[in-house]
């Protein structure tokens, strides 16, 4: 199957692509204007690069790759190093969360024990999931959120993140752990149970 329509002229595809790129950039940069700029630059770069593609999904991955590089550069310039005392404070503050989630013997407390969510393909099709996911990401403390996004959205390896931010490997993995724990707790507290929401995007 060959498609004659080039992606620059496929408005339906472009609209969806732009929306996805913007969501991605907004989450990283937490700045709508900077996100617009980064997406615009990535799309411009994509326009001017001659490429052959088998299909839209391959093309989309490629454009996301361009944007990802831009975001890594922007974030690197923005955050040279993590403020270590702020980081310590963030980790200290986590004791409260532990008290909520774990009993004195460090096992899950019965009333807050994690219950399985729907399968990824189901959860990712729910509007409620995405609303809460974005909300909870924005609720993460600064350094925790930054490390999580560098790992999960920019796809950096933990080693690279540690070197980049000049924190120890242990700190990095603690921060990633806290980020995941906080995210799942936040989604749960905001009412995500995945059970009675058949609202599809």
């Amino acid at each position: 199957m060959t498609t004659q329509l080039s992606w620059q002229q496929d408005h339906h595809y472009l609209t969806g692509l732009r929306r996805d790129l913007l969501r991605f950039a907004r989450l990283q940069l937490r700045d709508a204007v900077a996100a617009e700029d980064a997406v615009q630059e990535a799309l411009t770069a994509a326009y001017t690069a001659p490429q052959q593609f088998g299909g839209q999904s391959q093309h989309k991955t490629w454009v996301f790759g361009i944007l990802r590089h831009k975001l890594v550069d922007t974030l690197r310039a923005r955050y040279r190093t993590i403020n270590l005392s702020a980081l310590e404070a963030e980790i200290e503050g986590e004791a409260l969360l532990d008290d909520l989630l774990f009993k004195a013997n460090d096992h899950w407390a019965a009333d807050t024990r994690p219950r399985p969510w729907p399968k990824p393909e189901t959860a990712l099709a729910q509007k409620q999931f995405w609303l809460l996911f974005e909300l909870c990401l924005n609720n993460l403390p600064e350094s925790t959120g930054r490390v999580f996004m560098m790992r999960e959205f920019l796809g950096l390896e933990t080693d690279e993140i540690c070197v980049e931010l000049a924190v120890s490997a242990n700190h990095c993995s603690v921060l990633l752990y806290r980020a995941r724990l906080k995210l799942r707790t936040c989604l749960t507290e905001k009412g995500y149970d995945g059970e009675d929401c058949d609202e599809y995007v």
Binding site: D20, L21, R23, F24, L27, S57, K60, T61, V63, F64, R68, D98, F102, N105, D106, H107, W108, R113, P114, R115, P116, W117, P118, K119, P120, E121, A123, L124, F129, W130, F133, R151, E152, F153, L154, G155, E157, T158, S173, L176, Y177, R180, L181, L183, R184
Partner: protein, 62 residues
């Protein structure tokens, strides 16, 4: 005895690096007897899948 605090940390680590044999054994001895840690493992796998979707990739199907 393994605590859920420790196991949940290892389950998170496993998304970022291969677990050592001892760690892996500890996790797999604990999971069958702990619903909470199984729930946690499933939830963080959904978070990982969401991140893959956000960065424009199709989540791995397992």
């Amino acid at each position: 005895m393994s605590t859920c605090k420790k196991i949940s940390r290892l389950l998170s680590d496993a998304l970022d690096r291969p677990l050592q044999t001892g760690e892996w054994l500890e996790v797999h001895a604990h999971l069958p007897i702990c619903r909470g840690c199984r729930g946690y493992k499933q939830q963080i796998s959904v978070l990982r899948a969401a991140a893959q979707r956000v960065r424009g990739e199709e989540p791995e199907t397992r």
